[in-house]
């Protein structure tokens, strides 16, 4: 074959390569459509403990609001109870939905028992902050004790919350069509029972929060400002 022929062949080969490029682009596009994910991102560890503490604080606020609105229904009974009732009904609805997180946490703690604490310990053993890791190791017995107290408090909350919510729902149902003085008077014992249970729920959440604050302070490096 002559040089000229070889060169001509080379040009022809390059031309063949260029002809395959559109196909390659189609292939690349199709493959891109078939796989929907790009490179995985590094996960951000959630601060479960701090989040749980926030959930407990929020639950306490909800219970307080429910109790206050129930009181207001009684207070307004001989004036114009309808607006107080409407506010109370809204609060009950909020409690039904917004309490799910704290109830799920307390139920999981009870269901998993010591394994819940062990999992949390493993999480602490892997945090970036070396001081926190050392404090977790150093204060393990106190943390375990605090966790056990928190479990008992969770149990109290769990046992009383459902009956408390049930009483609130009953009051809502009874007063729904006719939030009059007569109806409110007739529901007095139910209202008092709901208030009593609400106080028990609040006590349980208070104890739970106290133990979580105790655990937080055990894990706080010296000189670090408290975070809420």
């Amino acid at each position: 074959m002559t040089t000229r022929g070889t060169e001509h062949l080379g040009i022809r080969n390059q031309g063949r390569c260029w002809q395959w490029l559109p196909l390659a682009a189609v292939v690349a596009t199709l493959l891109g459509c078939a796989s929907t994910e790009t490179a995985p991102k590094t996960p951000t560890p959630r601060d479960d403990f701090r989040e749980y503490r926030q959930i407990v604080v929020e639950a306490m606020r909800l219970v307080d609001t429910a109790m206050n609105s129930l009181d207001e229904v009684s207070v307004q009974a001989n004036r114009n109870p309808r607006p107080a009732y409407e506010a109370f009904a809204k609060v009950v609805h909020r409690l039904e939905v917004d309490s799910i997180k704290v109830r799920a946490h307390t139920q999981a703690m009870r269901a998993r028992g010591d394994a819940y604490f062990e999992r949390w310990e493993k999480y602490l053993a892997g945090v970036d902050n070396e001081q926190v890791r050392q404090l977790a190791e150093q204060h393990r017995p106190e943390l375990k004790r605090s966790f056990e107290q928190a479990q008992q408090a969770s149990q109290q909350v769990r046992e009383v919350f459902r009956p408390f919510l049930s009483d609130l729902q009953k009051v809502r149902a009874v007063l729904e069509t006719d939030p009059s003085l007569a109806r409110i008077e007739a529901s007095k014992s139910l209202i008092l029972a709901a208030q009593d249970k609400g106080r028990q729920v609040h006590q349980g959440l208070d104890r739970l929060l106290a133990e979580m604050n105790s655990m937080t302070s055990l894990l706080r490096p010296p000189g670090a400002a408290p975070r809420h």
Partner: protein, 167 residues
């Protein structure tokens, strides 16, 4: 290569590639339509997660229409909620041993969350038994289920990120 043969090859390759893309999508849908034990590959996990999110969306849609169906709204929602549970069980079967270990607390909380949401059905029955109108009890139940499922879905997605589901 002769032009006709080259055209045939091109057509065959393109056809094969198009088939592969379609098939992978169909396989994903067919494979995870029922909640049986699944492989724990990242793709299987992503598919299972997406299917569950879709099921939750359908459930929330159902809560918006069921309130106006006092005769069969309850049954419809109970059925849809069970479908969510089944899909969640299918999702969990795609998780690997390390994900189960690292996410044990989160999974327990998600399990508990579904149990608590299910209490809304009992609350409906209690309300009606105590004299509440079916219509009002159903409307209350629908509102709670809709919002509660939204909260649960947020927690589910956050837990999936933490457990590195699909990575």
């Amino acid at each position: 290569m002769k032009p006709i043969t080259r055209k045939l090859v091109l057509t065959a390759v393109l056809g094969l590639l198009a088939g592969l893309v379609t098939l992978s999508g169909n396989l994903a849908r067919a494979q995870f339509a029922t909640p049986f034990a699944q492989p724990n590959t990242p793709m299987a996990q992503r598919n299972a997660m997406n299917l569950l999110v879709n099921q939750i969306n359908w459930f929330q849609n159902a809560t918006r229409t069921a309130a106006s169906q006092p005769n069969n709204g309850y049954g419809l929602l109970a059925q849809q909620f069970q479908a969510v549970r089944d899909q969640y069980a299918g999702f969990k079967s795609t998780l690997g041993p390390q994900q189960w270990n690292n996410g044990a607390n989160q999974l327990a909380e998600l399990d508990a969350g579904l149990d608590i949401i299910q209490e809304a059905f009992t609350d409906y029955q209690t309300g009606v038994a105590n004299g509440q109108s079916t219509y009002t009890a159903l409307a209350n139940m629908c509102r709670v289920l809709n919002e509660a499922m939204g909260v649960w879905a947020q927690e589910f997605k956050a837990d999936c990120r933490q457990m590195r589901v699909g990575w």
